[in-house]
């Protein structure tokens, strides 16, 4: 049996530091919002002309007044991603860009993807994203409250907060783009982390009924160990699936799968080291759950 409970304090401090750093990053550095949430235009180009590079593309686009333009390679040497905010609200801007590119490089470009999000829509999308995450946290809180006691609910929700905040903090640190699919990833992380926590909690509750003489400090450790191999196997298979999306699923799914990979790792960690330690700190005992049974 691994003595997870030996490190409860140390990892709690680590988690607090991680959350603090993440919050500081989110406040001072902020998130790198994509056009979904910031508004603007995105164009994915494919060239079949070897002499094109990021610099020549940028120079050509510089001739048009687009404001702040970002030009990046996208996955390989042929594909490029152009982003700008289109603050001047020019109409037919895409046609203009296409003409300009054709003039400078000959007809060597394919517009593979064009996305254009107005400021009104982007702020709506951001708002509904924030609402979705808030609702999901609230729903999880209520669900666990119904299924378990409030101490469990608090533990699970703190673990969820940790996962969401640290994942977003990491995205801020690495300057990765936040778009609609990242919101989907965060919601799935919420589901996954909850799933992981619930399995251990289920065992904690079962053991609480079984052993009246074991303190919660050791009881959580027993429960973690009993469910450990399941925790690991599920994490591994989920990570295998996610890694194959990350490496083979194409550029568009990269951010999504990366967020999920972080989330699965944090989720697995937090269900052991946050959710359970909350139970320990709240001194959950056999009484906690029996009282509730009597009520019914």
């Amino acid at each position: 049996m691994i003595k997870f409970n030996r490190f409860y304090n140390k990892f709690n401090i680590l988690s607090l530091i991680l959350i603090l750093i993440s919050l500081l990053l989110l406040i001072f550095k902020g998130l790198n919002f994509g056009i979904d949430f910031k508004g603007g235009t995105l164009i994915e180009l494919r060239s079949n002309y070897s002499k094109i590079n990021v610099k020549s593309l940028r120079d050509t686009l510089g001739q048009i007044d687009l404001g702040d333009v970002s030009v990046k390679k996208f996955g390989n040497d042929k594909d490029y991603l152009i982003k700008f905010e289109n603050e001047n609200k020019k109409e037919n801007i895409i046609e203009e860009i296409k003409l300009n590119l054709d003039k400078s490089f000959g007809n060597n470009f394919d517009l593979r993807r064009v996305e254009n999000v107005g400021p009104k829509v982007s702020s709506e999308l951001l708002r509904s994203g924030i609402i979705a995450i808030s609702i999901s946290l609230a729903v999880m809180l209520i669900y666990i409250w119904i299924r378990f006691e409030w101490q469990f609910s608090l533990g699970a929700i703190l673990a969820l907060f940790h996962d969401v905040i640290v994942t977003l903090g990491l995205f801020s640190l690495l300057n990765l783009e936040i778009n609609l699919s990242i919101i989907a990833a965060v919601l799935t992380i919420v589901g996954y982390s909850m799933n992981d926590t619930v399995v251990i909690f289920d065992r904690v509750r079962e053991n609480l009924k079984k052993y009246s003489d074991i303190k919660i400090f050791d009881l959580t450790n027993i429960s973690i160990n009993e469910t450990l191999s399941r925790t690991l196997i599920t994490s591994i298979t989920t990570l295998l699936a996610l890694l194959s999306i990350f490496f083979f699923g194409g550029e568009i799914l990269k951010g999504f799968s990366l967020a999920m990979i972080f989330g699965v790792v944090f989720g697995t960690y937090s269900s052991i080291y946050i959710a359970n330690t909350v139970l320990v700190r709240l001194r959950v005992s056999q009484k906690t759950i029996l009282k509730d049974d009597e009520k019914i």
Binding site: L180, G191, Y192, M194, T234, T238, L240, I245, G249
Partner: protein, 517 residues
């Protein structure tokens, strides 16, 4: 309960076969089958354009208020109610009523059968709110009045957008209302939305009016620019003929001038009016105005009584075709702005499908290999379950003709990764049970029973996340929540019916073998 009744085995097998059959529709040609549905590919996979249009209702509101102002003036005049200082300002109509008529005026406006201020019984509200302050009355749109106006302009806009898109002839466009002032247009297979965008961006308000040479008269005349944005002319505000009177419009080649023109046919009322105007106005210039700009202003040489005419204005064949199309399909009630656009080219869509499928195959293989090494014979059972699970998932998506998007494929891959969870929970529990219980059948039975709550809780939490995502997410992300959510049900089915069936067969044949799992 490891026992399975024969009927249940047959039922499960039939159901599985049925879904294999349905799922195969997506690979084989289903056109000859009695059930020929397929999974829809989202715009991000098959390529196409997604356009969200917002109706700018300001002109409609202004127009309606303008009409109401005129209506008020004539109505009160006809009924000998003296009003003064009737003005329309900042979307509010203000006027003053003489002392003795104020009660009557308010009664008229608050009457449920009022012609000026219609009453909507279903909302229990009038079109306009009335505020009275002494002898002063102020009319402004009520909340419901505004909703009613927006809804009706949305209905009209939807109809016109549909007609325009149908005229262009793209395949299976999807045109839907969003909120009460937006129209969503999905155009599968369209990789260059430029033309449609420019066609939807035009209101196409056509009018024929006389050019006025009397520059002094500023009341009934307005100064309008030509299409080239340089030349201007004074044009009478009186509309002789509008686009509503058009029956048909077609691009034509004028043989005499060798110019592309748009020829039109008027309805009876229009032809009559046009005939009258052209006979009385010989020698005058008739301006053809589209969306506030003069296309051309030819001099009338002859009376045109046939109801047929031509519009010239330096068109190319393309622009003549587009103008004819716009005139045929009618004018929008208000301008439309494109507030969101997402276009994916067909080759990127195909690349995404290929990448998604490749990732699915790799992810699936990795999970299968891992499970086999971890659980051997039970890993094999899990893997069979996983394959059935995948077929069921694809089958259900096919049955409901769900839309598969790229994030949707990610959801399927993720389902594969997470689907083993339930089986793992059961097997790990059984492992624990076999340590205290020597009888394999009892150990397996209690393994299934005791793991049930954890499995249920774990799946419900994921399902809740998927449901929230379904209602809050948009477009491709919605596709993810669908596959993730459906995946949970197929997982539970395959674990409790398929995997348990195989497990029970294997265990009952090896009742007393030690270290079974």
């Amino acid at each position: 309960m490891l026992y399975f009744s024969k009927s249940r085995i047959i039922l499960v097998s039939l159901l599985t076969c049925f879904f294999i059959f349905i799922a195969s529709n997506n690979i084989l040609d289903p056109s000859k089958r009695f059930f020929n549905k397929k999974i829809n590919l989202g715009l991000d996979l098959q390529g196409g354009s997604y356009l969200l249009l917002e109706i700018d209702n300001t002109p409609v509101i202004d127009q309606k208020l303008q009409n109401t102002t005129t209506l008020l003036r004539t109505y009160f005049k006809d009924n000998n109610i003296r009003i003064k200082n009737l003005i329309l300002n900042d979307q509010k109509i203000n006027f003053e009523v003489s002392e003795e008529f104020i009660e009557i005026a308010i009664d008229i406006l608050n009457d449920e059968n009022s012609d000026i201020n219609p009453y909507y019984p279903k909302f229990k509200s009038h079109e306009f709110d009335i505020i009275n302050n002494g002898n002063f009355l102020e009319l402004s749109f009520s909340r419901q009045g505004l909703v009613e106006l927006k809804t009706s302009s949305q209905d009209q806009a939807l109809e016109i957008v549909r007609r325009r898109i149908d005229e262009i002839g793209t395949n299976e466009p999807n045109i839907l209302k969003r909120g009460n002032d937006r129209v969503l247009v999905e155009l599968p297979g369209l990789d260059d939305p430029m033309r449609i965008k420019s066609l939807l961006g035009k209101t196409a308000n056509l009018s024929f009016r006389f050019v006025s040479n009397d520059n002094q008269d500023s009341f009934g005349v307005e100064k309008l620019k030509y299409e080239n944005d340089i030349d201007e002319d004074f044009v009478s505000k009186r509309i002789i003929l509008s686009g509503d009177n058009l029956l048909d419009a077609q691009p034509r080649m004028n043989n005499q001038t060798n110019e592309t023109v748009v020829s039109f046919t008027l309805d009876r009322v229009g032809a009559k009016r046009f005939g009258k105007a052209t006979s009385s106005g010989i020698g005058k210039q008739l301006a053809i105005v589209l969306d506030g700009k003069i296309i051309s202003a030819p001099v009338i040489r002859d009376t045109i009584a046939s109801g047929n005419g031509q519009i010239s204005g330096g068109f190319t064949f393309q622009s003549a075709t587009d103008l004819a199309l716009l005139l045929r399909s009618g004018a929008l009630p208000a301008p439309l702005n494109i507030i969101e656009e997402r276009t994916v080219g067909p080759d990127l869509g195909q690349d995404s499908i290929n990448a998604g499928m490749f990732a699915l195959i790799i992810g699936f293989s990795l999970v299968i290999i891992f499970m086999f090494f971890k659980y051997k014979i039970f890993g094999l059972i899990t893997n069979i379950t996983l394959i059935v699970n995948l077929i069921l998932l694809i089958g259900i998506l096919t049955l409901f003709e769900a839309t598969l998007t790229l994030p949707g494929i990610a959801g399927i891959i993720l389902t594969v990764g997470m689907a083993v969870d339930a089986n793992v929970l059961i097997f790990e529990r059984i492992k624990e049970e076999t340590k205290i219980e020597k009888n394999n059948i009892i150990a397996f039975d209690s393994g299934y029973t005791k793991s049930k709550t954890a499995i249920l809780d774990a799946n419900i939490t994921t399902l809740l996340a998927a449901i929230i995502l379904f209602f809050m997410g948009s477009g491709p992300v919605k596709g993810f929540s669908v596959t993730l959510g459906v995946g949970i049900f197929t997982t539970l089915f395959s674990v409790y019916f398929i995997a348990r069936l195989f497990t029970s067969i294997y265990v009952s044949r090896n009742k007393n073998k030690e270290g079974l799992i």
